[in-house]
């Protein structure tokens, strides 16, 4: 498809397990962002991949969270030893050119529930 694709759309896991969330951005987009939206909250910035430069990880809430972007395309957000407070919708977005402003295109999100 032409849009940002995220998988899985829903994930239920037990506390303490690791989870991986995948984002397939729009082809050719050099900027990729991860945000999360907890229940009743806004969009919390997590991490930003900007071309081949080092990512901005300033929003990751703890060292249990990590993300990779392989080959400048697909990104994986990994949460280790999940906790109940990690339950949220994780949203991925991409943008054409990280060196200028422009519209962010969002995926539909991955809803994570930690029991």
């Amino acid at each position: 498809g032409a849009g940002v694709s995220q998988s899985p759309s829903n994930k239920v896991t037990e506390k303490g397990k690791d989870v991986e969330l995948r984002c397939d951005p729009i082809s050719g987009h050099t900027a990729l962002y991860w945000y999360r939206q907890s229940l009743g909250q806004g969009l919390e910035f997590l991490i930003y991949f900007q071309g081949n430069s080092a990512p901005d990880k300033s929003g990751l809430p703890s060292d249990r969270f990590s993300a990779e972007r392989t080959g400048g395309s697909v990104s994986t957000l990994t949460i280790q030893r999940t906790q109940q407070e990690d339950s949220a919708v994780y949203l991925c977005a991409s943008r054409l050119d990280f060196t200028s402003t422009g519209e962010l295109f969002f995926g539909e999100g991955s809803r994570l529930t930690v029991l």
Binding site: A31, Y35, G42, S53
Partner: protein, 115 residues
Amino acid sequence: DQQVKQNSPSLSVQEGRISILNCDYTNSMFDYFLWYKKYPAEGPTFLISISSIKDKNEDGRFTVFLNKSAKHLSLHIVPSQPGDSAVYFCAASDPGTSGTYKYIFGTGTRLKVLA
């Protein structure tokens, strides 16, 4: 600290009337601002944007106003329609020291348009 603030968590407006959604920011370096609309279980979709060199941008029923001295922007929707009922997020682009444009979102305002 919340650099982009939407102080009204919710707003109700009669169909046909004007909806005004407000957003305040603290960082004078923000140079580009966007509004997104989000329906439940969907990703946010882009509505309208404005560069910091302008004070108004209009697109159909949607107009965004920027007051740089007050660090305030607003989204006007006129006339409001029931299909406009959604959560609206404002966002600001932070060029940072290396010009890589991190996007920061507010907490959202839930708009309900009453038929």
